[in-house]
Symmetry: D2
Subunit: 336 residues, 4 copies
Amino acid sequence: MKDIRVGIVGATGYTALEAARILVAHPHARVVAATSRGETGKSIAEIHPSLAGRCDVRIDTFDADKIAGQCDVAMCCLPHGASAETVHQLVTRGLRVIDFSADFRLSNVELYEKWYDVEHPWPERVGSTAYGMPEFFADQIRDADVVANPGCYPSSAILPLAPLVKEGLIETDDIIIDSKSGVSGAGRSAKVATLYCETNESIAAYSVGVHRHQPEINDLVHRISGTPVATLFTPHLTPMDRGILSTIYVRSRSTARKVMDCWRHCFADAAFVTVVEHLPATKHVAGTNFVQMTARDCDHRIVLICAIDNLAKGASGAAVQNMNVMFGLDDKTGLV
Amino acid sequence: MKDIRVGIVGATGYTALEAARILVAHPHARVVAATSRGETGKSIAEIHPSLAGRCDVRIDTFDADKIAGQCDVAMCCLPHGASAETVHQLVTRGLRVIDFSADFRLSNVELYEKWYDVEHPWPERVGSTAYGMPEFFADQIRDADVVANPGCYPSSAILPLAPLVKEGLIETDDIIIDSKSGVSGAGRSAKVATLYCETNESIAAYSVGVHRHQPEINDLVHRISGTPVATLFTPHLTPMDRGILSTIYVRSRSTARKVMDCWRHCFADAAFVTVVEHLPATKHVAGTNFVQMTARDCDHRIVLICAIDNLAKGASGAAVQNMNVMFGLDDKTGLV
Amino acid sequence: MKDIRVGIVGATGYTALEAARILVAHPHARVVAATSRGETGKSIAEIHPSLAGRCDVRIDTFDADKIAGQCDVAMCCLPHGASAETVHQLVTRGLRVIDFSADFRLSNVELYEKWYDVEHPWPERVGSTAYGMPEFFADQIRDADVVANPGCYPSSAILPLAPLVKEGLIETDDIIIDSKSGVSGAGRSAKVATLYCETNESIAAYSVGVHRHQPEINDLVHRISGTPVATLFTPHLTPMDRGILSTIYVRSRSTARKVMDCWRHCFADAAFVTVVEHLPATKHVAGTNFVQMTARDCDHRIVLICAIDNLAKGASGAAVQNMNVMFGLDDKTGLV
Amino acid sequence: MKDIRVGIVGATGYTALEAARILVAHPHARVVAATSRGETGKSIAEIHPSLAGRCDVRIDTFDADKIAGQCDVAMCCLPHGASAETVHQLVTRGLRVIDFSADFRLSNVELYEKWYDVEHPWPERVGSTAYGMPEFFADQIRDADVVANPGCYPSSAILPLAPLVKEGLIETDDIIIDSKSGVSGAGRSAKVATLYCETNESIAAYSVGVHRHQPEINDLVHRISGTPVATLFTPHLTPMDRGILSTIYVRSRSTARKVMDCWRHCFADAAFVTVVEHLPATKHVAGTNFVQMTARDCDHRIVLICAIDNLAKGASGAAVQNMNVMFGLDDKTGLV
C-alpha cells in the first residue's frame, strides 16, 4: 500500500511531537507537512531536537489548500475554538481530520459553550462527530471525515466506567474520580506554573470541581452506556513527564471480580486494553498506547484503577490508532 | 535552661536522619546518643553524609541502661513490635520516650493485633498512651512518659477530619481519602520496589483497602470527636522524596466556607496548622512542620485537601514538636 | 539586641523566596519590606505559598526612601544592570545592601561590560566592593555598605580552587570545571527551556565556553590567590530543584591528600566548609549553607569535587551569612 | 523470512526488560525463551508489568541445551564472570550469543583480570570477539558467534573519540571524560545506594578514577584508531531513569567545525549517529537507539558532547542492532 501522508497542524507542542515520534516509526504512514504560526521555515527537528536525523519536514504557515493537497489526513493540534475553524476549512476541502481539541467531543453545543466559554464556529457538527475511542466507536471512526480525539483524563475514566455503567454493575450517582497526571498534560507554553521548580517534588490538585474534562467524561459515559452519570472529578499535577492514573471510587453491590470479568468481556477484541491483576503504575504503560486497569473491593465500594500514558493513549497514540482504523489498517500498526 | 539530651534509637533510617537534622539546629536540644544494630562505631555522619560537620555522635549498640543514663528523652525509630519492647525497657528505667512506631497509637490491643499481626509485648499501655498530636492532646503529651508519634498518612487525614466530625459538619459513613505520598515514607531498607527506576516517573496506588493507617485514622478521629467514622483509604506512591497530599471526599450539607471557618476556630492556637485559600501543594510545606489545608464545594460533596511533609509533621517534626511540649518549650522551638 | 530589619527588593524569584524562608527562622532578623514591580498589594505569601502563615509582609513598589527608612539592610534580588542602579539609590540613602546580581562582583568595569554587555551605572564602585565570601573577605564584609553576593557556580569553584592556587599546589593554566546545577539556578521567569517537561529526565550542557560565571571564577581566584588562572567552565542543567556539583580537573604534582590538608588548614575557622572523605552529593548539602569538598588522585591529575546548594550557599544562604558578618553576629546564626 | 527466535538469559534486570520491549515491536524477531534463577514459572510480565498483554513468555531455569534448541540467538544479560561461563555453554552448542557483560569486550585477558578481579573462564576467546559497535565492526559482527555488546559509558565516549584519534585531530594524552548517567545503569538489584530517596534530587560522582569502563574506552579507541590513548573518566549518577551525557575535554589544534566534519564523514552510513548543531540533551535520544553529538571550541580545548540512552544504544538497542546485522537485516529494523 502507499504510505498515508500525514499533516500536523500546530506542530510545536508535546502532542504534535509525540505524533511525529510515533509516525517516524510507522510502517505505512509518514509526516509530509507541519504547520505553526511562529516557527516557519525551521525544520521540525529544530523545534523538537529529539527528531534530529529522523524527520526533516519544514514548518510552514497554515494553508488549507496546500495541506489538503499534500496530505491524506491532518492531525490538528490546536487549542479549542481555533481548532474547529481549521477543521472546518480542511474538511470542506475533502481532507480527513483527527482533531486533538475538545471542539467536537461533546454531544451538544450548549454543553460545549457553557464549559468552553466560546461560540462554536461549526455548531452543526457538534454531536455528530465520531469520538475517537475505537473500543466503542470503531464503526463511526472507520468512515469519519472528522474524528474527535478524546481528552487525556476522559480516556482514563471512560474506558473503565462505560462498560460497568452499561452492564448496570455500579451505581451512577456518586462516582468519584481522583486523577493524577504528568506535567506534559499542561502543554508546552511558557507558564510559571509548569516551570520545573514549581512542579518538581510536589503534587497538588487543581481545577477542583471545574475541570472541563468532567462534562466530557459524563457525556461520553452516557453516550456509550445509555445511562446518565454524575462524577466528581479532581485532577492532580504529578511530578513526572507522562502518565495518568485514575483512581475511581464507585458504589456497587457487585464485586471487583465481576468488574474485571465485565471488562475482559467488553475489551476482548480491544487492541490496547489490558485487565491486570497487579496494581498498575503509570510507568507500566509509559511510552505505549496500552491501558492497564484493575479493580479492588473496599468495604461498600469498589476501587477502579486505570493507567494510561497521557501523550500516547491519552492523545497522539490514540490519534494514530484512529488513523489506522480510518485507513483500514490493524489498530496496532506502528504502535507499541 | 540546660539542653535537652536526646537519644536516637534506630538511627539509620530517614526519620532518624530527619530528627537529627532538626535537632542540630534546635536551640535547646542536642543529640547525645544514637544506636543501631548494624553500624556500631561509625559516626552518624558516616551513615548520613548530610550530617558531616554538623553532628559527630557515634553509633552504639542499644543498651537501655546507658541510654537512660545519658539522655532526657529517647526518640525510638524502630519497626513495630521491636519498638514496644524497647520502649518498655527505657520507660521502666525512667526515660521519657517518643515512639515513632505504631505500637502505642491505637485504642485497644485487639485492633493492634488484628492489623499488625503480632502479639503486643506491652499490652497494658495500649490505649492509655498519649497520641502525639499536640493540636488535640497537648495536655496528655506534656506529662507523658511515652508519646505515640502519629503515622504520616493519619496526620494528613485526622487533622482536617476530626474537627469536622466533632462539630457534625460532615457525614461519617462514606469518607474517601485518596492520599499521595513521597517515597521516603517507604523507608530506607533495600527493596526493589523503592529503587529509583521503579518509582521515578510513575505513580501507583498500593495496599488498596488494606493499609494499616486506615484503622489509625478511624480510631483517632473517633477518639477526638467522640463519633465513629468509616473511611476508605487509598495510598499512592508518588515520585518525590517528601510530602503527603490527602484529597478527602466527604458528604456534607455544609459548605467549604463553613468547613474552613470550623478549622480556623479549632486551630486558632495551633502552631503549625494553616488554613489556606489556595490549593496546597506538598512543595508548599516541604521541609517544614506546617500543615496547609483547604476545602472546595463540589456538587453534593466537599473536597478537603491537606498537605504535609511526611518526614516533618508526618514524623520527625511532630516528634520534635512533641518533645517541645513535653519539656515546656514553645511548640515552634527549633522548627520551621 | 534588636532584630535586624531586612527589605527584599525584587521579591518574586527563587532567591528572594529562599532569603525569606531563611529569615523567618532567623532569631535576630526579620523581613519588614518586600518590593516588586508586578505584584503590588499582595502578601508575599500569595506569591510564595510556602510562606503562608509564616510571613505576611505586603509587596510594595520600590521606593528608595521608604526602604531606607524601614530597613537596616536590603537584599537586592534584581537582574544585573537594574540592580546597580537600585543599589546606588539605597546606598546613597545610607542603607547597607547585599546585592545578589553580578554588578559589583568583578574587579574592573571593562571585564564587566565585556561580559554583561551593558554600560555600568555606577562604575566607580566596581572593583572596590566587598565580595561576599566570608571565607576570604570577612574583614571587608564587616564594614561594607555594599556586599556583592557571589554567583552560584563561582561559589562552588572559587572555594576549592583559591587556596590551592594560593599555595601553589596546582597548575593554573588548564583547569577544567564541569559543573552540574539544579534548575532553580535558571530563575523563575516563564520560559519554555525550563518547563518541567523540557528539563526533567534529561541532562544537558549549556553556554559552553561563554557562561558569565567563568570570568567571575577567574577574577576572584586571581584576587584571592594573587595568581592569574585560566579555567574552562562548562555548566550543565540537571533535573533537580537545587544543588551544584562541580567536578574540577586540575594538573598537579601534589596529591589529593595534600590538597585536602591545604583545605583543612585554610578553612579551619570557616563556619560552613566541610572537607569530607566521601564523594559529596548535592543532596548532602541540600537546604543547607554547607559546602562539602573532597579530592581524588587520578593519574596525572587531581579531581576536586565540591557540592553546594545553589540557592543557599550559592545565593540566599550566603547572603544571610554576609548579613550576620555585617551586623556582628556569628556566621551560623539562623543558618543550617 | 521467518522470525528470529530470541532467548533472554537473565531476564529480571533493566537491560533484559528493555530488550524485551524492543523485541515485542520488532517485525522479524520475537522472544521465545527467558531464564532466571529466582523467578521460575512466572510470566515475564509478572516480573516486568509493562509487558502485560504484550509478552507472555514463561521464565525458566537456564538449560543450555533447551535454549540452544529453541532459539536462533541468545541475549545474555548476566553479570561478568557468570556470563562468560554461560556464553561458552551456548556457543559450544551452536547458538549465536550477544553478551551484555564485559567478559569479551577487552583485547586481552590480563587487562580483563586486572580490572574485573576474576579468572576468566574462557580466556582464549578474549580479544578475538567482535565488539558490538556496528559503526566500526559491522563485518566482524555479521559472522560472529559471540558479540560483545559495548558498555554504556564506552558507547558514549568511543563513538565521538575514535574517529578523531584515528584522523589525528586531537591529542591523545590528556582526554578528560566527564559522564553523567541515569540510575538504570546501576541495575535492578536491591541496594540502598540506588533507592529513590538516595539518588533523587541529587547528583554525585562515583568510582572516580577506578571505573571499569575506563580501560574499555582506552582499549577500544586504541583498537579502532590504531593509537593508544589515555583518558581520565569520571562517571556521575544523575537523577533520571535513562540517558548518558558525556562531556569530553580534548586538547587539539583543530576546530570544532573540523571535528564535526570528521564525524559526518566517518558516520555517513551509520544508521543511528547524528551530528547536531544544538547542544544535545539526554532527553533528545531517550527511548531511542540514536546518538547525538556536537563539538564546541573553548580556548585551547575542544569540548565534545555526546548523548545516548544508556539502556538503548548503551545496551539493549545496540544488542538488537547487532542482532539485525548478524541476521542480515537493516540496522534500523525494529528500532526507533
